[in-house]
Amino acid sequence: MKPKTTNYIVFECLSRSANEAFARGAVACFAAQLDPTLEELGDIKTAVSEAVTNAIVHAYPDTLGRIVVRARVLEEDILEISVRDWGRGIPDVKQARQPLFTTGGEERSGMGFTIMESFMDSLTVRSVQGKGTRVTMSRRIKPRRTGQ
């Protein structure tokens, strides 16, 4: 059965590196309704930063392109985030997800996917060469008892 969406935001931005901070900030603001801990919020911001940075750096290496970020609340307590680009795509997703694999040279670490994977509960990467990439990740935010 498809999980029920209880809330969502969608925004589009140009692949400028100045938008990395906006994207992670916007998703963090949206995530606040799930009452995450500071650590959970840090994990979410980091994962979003990695995905959006990849779209900026790798999808559109020498052009500016469209990036669409969607964040949804599923079934009350799951935050699902997708980052989509229409850039050059990833020829071998399995290889790209390996720790330390990078096509970005000395400025990159090759740890982006590894961080997304370990900071979130799930990570799915769909990519078609020359068409683009969609990264979808989710994290359950454990409900906390408030007002103690």
Partner: protein, 101 residues
């Protein structure tokens, strides 16, 4: 992202504050390169206390500074790492390559 530094007795301390992402990393790498060339330190401390956010771009910054220090036959120590940045560095297993305090 802001950077301040203090150099004395061939010991260099670089203090970072703000958000260290890919947007900030390129300028920061250039600034650190320049500082190392000017001061030729034998020991460099990278003080992260003021960082409010860091993603994997910070890993590349640390590794590059480490390589540059090794080329000078010196060493790099990363100090005062906030919790969120520490999680990123630990996930990358950086503690095996760089002294993190």
């Amino acid at each position: 992202m802001e950077m301040k530094y203090r150099a004395e007795n061939r010991q260099l301390t670089i203090r970072l504050s703000g958000e260290l992402d890919h947007h900030a990393a390129k300028d920061l790498m250039d600034s650190i390169d320049r500082l190392l060339e000017q001061n030729l330190p034998v020991k460099t401390f990278l003080d992260m206390e003021g960082l409010t956010f860091m993603d994997s771009s910070g890993i590349a910054v640390v590794l590059r500074a480490k390589r540059r220090m090794e080329a000078l036959s010196g060493s790099l120590v990363v100090i005062n790492i906030p919790r969120q940045a520490a999680r990123v560095l630990e996930t990358a297993g950086l503690n095996r390559y760089v002294e993190l305090v």
